[in-house]
């Protein structure tokens, strides 16, 4: 049989193909056209591989020959036909070479030699090489080191498996495709059929299935496969689309060229310049270009900048760097690009620092033009960060018109907003002040004797001008001061009692000793309050004392009255306006702590309403009246030359347009003071309204205040507007909190106050009728009935003190035509409003369930806007409901809330620490029971201080028993026990003394 040589070629059109050269004679050969002979003669493995092949070779492939290319008959080999043939050759060679197979084949390939398969059959070098590629292909498929691409074959879209290296020999790709296809087909047969494969990718990968994809989809498919395969590569995996883009700006290493780098951030946070990634091959050039392109698209400044030789980084001029920071950075950050700036390179804010303020020294002496009208010299320094600028530096910044300036050798990034704001403010300051604001450096201090300092510190420039305080405050609140950052470390001064001393950062008011005529020891913070009141007073300025409830605002006002009488003598009367319910409390405190003051209550039906009142008032120290009388008696009240007006519970005059507010504003006196426990800073319209009463005009008109200050703060959260408002109002508002232990270190954790409350005329009338009735009954009663009579009368008296509707039980409304019928309820309403304004909760105790039932609907309606429900815990509430009430009450600690409890129900192991106000609406006269109730709120875990109010009606049996119980000696003498039973044992005279209403207790109609 003639020798046959097997060639494996890779044809451009057909792909891998086999052709056979048969030796016909020595030196002569021809290409085989029929396979039948070969198949018969071949070794069995090879014969099997050719089993499927047609006998006659109809295809032609081009092969290079001695006389140019020629076309020879060939067998195209696809898929399994290819792998079967190459596999058969491999098997044959392994049989021949055994263990030396690899070595032998390598040698053959190196020499380009053929291998004999059997006597007459020779595998030519291209076929020998294919055996090695085939083993490589098997290994690749085994390890799934495969790519796939969507291509086209004979005009038909197909999927092709490929070796991972794109430049691998085409025959390797063909072998990989054949093996991978078989492996994937097996995998696909085992897998669950997919729900949807609209492109037909799976069968196109496994078999000859058709791919349903137009050219652009095929490209995306190939790209997706590449991305999928590349995601399995360990190490840096960065693509411009999937990694976070970072732009890094550096300070100029030399001169003024600012390097700007395009970088990508790895998942672990490491940032690499794209130029470096591209250089080591971790990022394609297209990826690098895409990253830089994203920067170009988002940062218009960079488009015009000089590029460095990487093509991905730039060198910016100082002006460009500045424009980049101010204009491009926000757009980049918005698009999710991180902009990295040099370390510690935050924007430096420009601040205006007020310097020592000089008030006109003559003002304090002569008393002319004091307070808000006083002329003041203002001086401002301009600081960038912590650096106070010199004149040259100011000039340099103004000329640079750039966000980046070099200050004292360092590059500084200016905060453009505050810089412009400061410039604008100083311009307006120049226009509004009398002096031309010469920007002059302060006089250099005289050289001191001794060695001169080597380098004098640069002298900051100061902008100066003179204006009245009111003008200055108005400027600070005007739009021209918007965004101005006023330096907090303000160095202000001005006389002993100058307004400047009260500004933030200043030394504060001149401290005063406790007035000797005051019969009480002021706590340190009360002394501070007195000093503050005094400093305002000396300048005819009004103030708002807004201390928390229970801190003794009354005491501080009384101390002020004592102080001014000690100092000056011949001081005119003070008019105090308060709710009716606290008239008695004022009266009592004044009598207790400042008995030398002449106090008059302008109140009740018999009050003076004519000339005699005006004449008499001149000799008084304190006249107390109520808000309801303020507008009614305005004529006579405004005829008195008051020295001072004091508005207690000043929230009553916060609503503009009401009669009371109008009356309050129409009264005038050299000194005005408002007292309130409501936080005034949280309700800006209220603040304006209160300030109009005490310092008219300070905050401008209500409309401009709303536009320029209130709505920017409340609607837009404008921090600088809030700071400016605080700057202007802080001298005039003093507010101390019970919770602020640094200020009030000596305050007990629990404050217990007995609140003496006036009876209304209605209450007083009912009260007296009950006492009269009892008198008659006592005369006739025998010993056994007496006890019942007394206890029943006391119960009814207590009901009257609570509320007329409670006693009458007639279902009448608790408030009639806006007027309170009960002094207690009026006070409790004020108290609740103040507590709710701070998001606090209150517990209210009563021993009368019937009273509680009246209060629940009343408060639910009154506080409907807060969405409050009023739980009422009394003896009839089931265990389950009680637990639920307590849980709901305790849940939201920082929300307003109140709970009503009957004293009996309060005694059973409840924890209600969410509340920090406790009110005892009526008295049990048993300290143990009351304390136990109070301790519902005051327990371990309570964060805030608890304020306990025990309400007592003025002049009534309530107040009298309270006094008796407070007097330990009386307790001992009378053998007074807890509760009320002991009252029945008293003699008639003693009993009636105790029960009869004292004159000053009620307002008589």
């Amino acid at each position: 049989m003639p020798a046959r040589r097997l060639h494996l070629v890779l044809d451009e059109d057909l792909g891998p193909a086999l052709w056979v050269r048969e030796q016909t004679a020595p030196g002569r050969s021809r290409a085989l056209e029929e396979l039948a002979d070969l198949r018969r003669a071949a070794p069995p493995g090879l014969a099997r591989a050719l089993e499927e092949a047609p006998d006659r070779l109809r295809h032609r492939v081009r092969v290079p020959g001695r006389e140019g290319t020629r076309r020879v008959p060939a067998l195209p080999l696809e898929g399994t036909a290819l792998t079967a043939l190459v596999g058969a050759v491999t098997d044959r060679l392994q049989e021949r070479f055994g263990d030396a197979f690899a070595e032998q084949v390598t040698t053959l390939i190196g020499e380009g030699a053929a291998a004999r398969l059997d006597e007459d059959l020779i595998a030519m070098p291209d076929l020998v090489a294919a055996t090695v590629l085939d083993l490589r292909a098997l290994e690749l498929v085994e390890q799934r080191h495969l790519r796939a691409r969507a291509g086209e074959r004979y005009g038909r879209p197909v999927m092709q498996w490929r070796a991972p290296q794109r430049d691998a020999p085409e025959l390797l790709h063909a072998l990989v495709d054949a093996h991978a296809r078989a492996a994937f087909a097996a995998h696909l047969r085992q897998a669950d059929p997919p729900a949807e494969d609209r492109l037909g990718v799976l069968w196109a990968l496994a078999d000859e299935g058709e791919l349903h994809a137009e050219l652009p989809v095929r490209r995306r498919l190939t790209a997706a496969f590449d991305a999928f395969v590349d995601s399995g590569r360990p190490g840096v995996q960065l693509t411009s689309t999937r990694s976070e883009l970072v732009v890094r700006l550096f300070e100029p290493p030399l001169g003024t060229a600012w390097p700007l780098q395009t970088c990508l951030r790895e998942a672990d946070g490491a940032v690499h310049p794209v130029a470096d990634l591209r250089a080591v091959g971790d990022l394609t050039a297209a990826g690098a270009a895409e990253a830089s392109a994203a920067v170009l698209r988002l940062a218009p400044t960079v488009r015009g900048a000089a590029v460095d030789d990487t093509g991905t980084d730039w060198l910016l001029s100082t002006a460009e760097a500045s424009a980049f920071l101010s204009h491009d950075t926000p757009a980049l950050e918005e698009a999710g690009v991180t902009v990295l700036l040099p370390r510690d390179w935050t924007k430096q804010r420009t601040t205006l620092r007020p310097q020592e303020v000089e008030e006109d020294p003559s003002a304090e002496r002569t008393g002319s033009a004091v307070g808000l009208g006083a002329m003041v010299s203002f001086r401002w320094r301009v600081a960038v960060g912590e650096t106070e600028l010199t004149e040259e530096e100011m000039e340099q910044i103004r000329e640079a018109q750039s966000e980046l300036v070099q200050l004292r050798g360092q590059w500084v990034r200016l905060d453009a907003t505050t810089l412009r704001a400061a410039e604008k403010f100083l311009d307006a300051f120049g226009r509004r002040t009398r002096e031309q604001p010469g920007a002059r450096p302060p006089a250099r201090p005289l050289p001191r004797p001794g060695p001169a300092p080597l380098e004098p510190a640069p002298l900051p420039v100061e902008v100066t001008g003179r204006a009245p305080w009111l003008e200055m405050f108005s400027l600070i609140l005007s739009p021209e001061a918007a965004d101005v950052d006023f330096g907090v470390a303000a160095l202000t001064a001005g006389g002993r009692n100058g307004l400047a001393r009260l500004l933030p950062g200043a030394e504060g008011p001149d401290p005063l000793p406790s007035p000797s005529t005051l019969q009480a020891t002021l706590r340190p913070y009360q002394l501070e309050g007195l000093s503050w009141l005094w400093a305002l007073d000396r300048q005819n300025l009004g103030g708002i004392l807004a201390d928390d409830m229970g801190l003794g605002k009354t005491m501080q006002v009384l101390a002020l009255l004592c102080r001014e009488r000690e100092q000056d003598g011949g001081v005119g009367p003070t008019l105090l306006v308060c709710p009716m319910s606290v008239v008695g409390a004022w009266q009592r405190e004044a009598a207790t702590f400042a008995p030398h003051l002449a106090v008059h209550v302008h109140h009740g039906g018999s009050r003076l309403r004519d000339e005699s009142f005006v004449a008499g008032a001149a000799d008084l120290d304190l006249v107390i009246t109520t808000y309801s009388l303020l507008s009614r008696d305005l004529g006579v009240l405004s005829a008195v030359p008051w020295h001072r007006l004091v508005f207690d519970e000043a929230q009553h005059v916060k609503t503009p347009g009401t009669q009371v507010t109008g009356a309050a504003r129409s009264l005038h006196a050299p000194h005005q003071l408002a007292l309130t426990g409501t936080p005034v800073e949280n309700r800006l319209a209220d603040l304006h309204s209160l300030m109009e009463v005490v310092n008219p005009g300070l905050l401008g008109s209500a409309t401009t205040f709303e536009d320029r200050v209130a709505s920017p703060i409340e609607d837009a959260g404008d921090e600088t507007a809030l700071r400016r408002l605080k700057l202007v109002t802080s001298p005039f508002i003093l507010r101390r909190l019970k919770t602020d232990r640094s200020i009030i270190a000596d305050l007990p954790e629990k404050i217990e106050l007995t609140r003496v409350v006036n009876l209304t005329p209605e209450q007083a009338g009912l009260y007296e009728a009950i006492v009269e009735e009892l008198k008659g009954q006592l005369a006739e009663a025998d010993r056994s009935a007496r006890r019942t009579l007394v206890v029943s009368a006391i119960t009814r008296l207590k009901q009257v003190c609570n509320h007329p509707a409670h006693y009458l039980g007639d279902g009448s409304p608790l408030v009639r035509e806006g007027q309170h019928r009960s002094g207690k309820l009026e006070l409790v309403d004020d108290l609740l409003e103040t507590a709710f304004a701070e998001g606090q909760k209150a517990l209210l105790f009563t021993q009368f369930t019937a009273f509680g039932r009246l209060l629940v609907p009343y408060w639910e309606e009154k506080f409907a806007s807060l969405g409050l429900s009023v739980p009422f815990l009394h003896g009839g509430v089931s265990k389950h409901d009680r637990d639920q009430m307590v849980a709901e009450f305790q849940e939201h600690r920082d929300r307003p809330g109140l709970m009503l409890l009957s004293l009996r129900a309060g005694g059973t192991g409840l924890t209600l620490t969410a509340a920090n106000h406790v009110v005892h609406l009526d008295r049990w006269w048993n300290p143990a029971v009351e304390n136990q109730a109070t301790d519902r709120a005051f327990r371990i875990g309570q964060r805030r201080d608890v304020l306990v109010n025990k309400l007592v009606s003025a002049g009534s049996v309530e107040e009298k028993i309270d006094t008796v119980l407070g007097d330990k000696q009386a307790l001992a003498d009378l053998a007074v026990g807890p509760g009320e039973d002991w009252l029945a044992t008293l003699e008639d005279d003693d009993l009636l003394n105790l029960l009869t209403l004292d004159e000053d207790g009620g307002e008589r109609a």
């Binding site: 596999g87 392994q94 263990d99 197979f101 083993l135 098997l138 498929v141 085994e142 390890q143 799934r144 080191h145 991972p164 290296q165 078989a182 492996a183 995998h187 696909l188 897998a191 997919p194 729900a195 949807e196 494969d197 492109l199 990718v201 799976l202 050219l215 652009p216 989809v217 490209r219 995306r220 498919l221 997706a224 496969f225 991305a227 999928f228 395969v229 590349d230 995601s231 399995g232 590569r233 360990p234 190490g235 250089a279 080591v280 394609t284 050039a285 297209a286 270009a289 895409e290 830089s292 392109a293 920067v295 170009l296 698209r297 488009r303 590029v307 460095d308 030789d309 093509g311 991905t312």
Partner: protein, 231 residues
Amino acid sequence: MSITLRSRRGPIGVAWHAVALREAAEALLGTGRAGGGRADARAGRVQWLDVAAGLARGDVLDADGALYHARLELPVLRADERRDLLRVAHAHPELPARLASGEYPRDVETELARSALSLLPREASELTHDCSCLDWPGPCRHVAALVYVLVEAVDAEPVLLLQLRGLALEDLVAPPAETEDAAPRSEAFDATLTNPDLLAEVIGDGPAGIIASFYGSRGAPTGTPEPPTPQ
């Protein structure tokens, strides 16, 4: 699927390079064909566009309901032209980023012109066309529609001009000076780490899951006979 033009009226193409391409192509098309093509392009008749070396292709749906395969060809640069172009490009390191950002700098085109080179058609006759429709010799309105879709694509992505001329962004970057440092890129990868989401974006979750499980089943028994172990 069809391509929607951004331009609703007036000339198509905004950037200077898009205008230049359009003008060269319109010289080839003639006014009548141009108008028809513009209308077809705006009507979304071009189903897809593919740009490869020397060739832009797309399927265009005719009013008769048939799909025709339109082609527009622009010769790939010869080796010497390519060398000259790369010389110019390497002197402009920012060129890849500019092209990627949608900008083809005019000064680069001016420098290319000194070597009688251009990324754009140097004259209308450099463009040739072909279509599967019967309107022979054309240019037919399918080719015209393809032209306008191409113009708008090039407007946003001037990189396509580079691709038409047989180049990629990669080619424009000068190879690093010290080649010995550039270690051969490791092809090692762990098939189990692959992220099927990348595939799922194109072929859907089901098929992607099966392919991913195939990659994850490395070394499992498969339909392929065990390879002989070379010693």
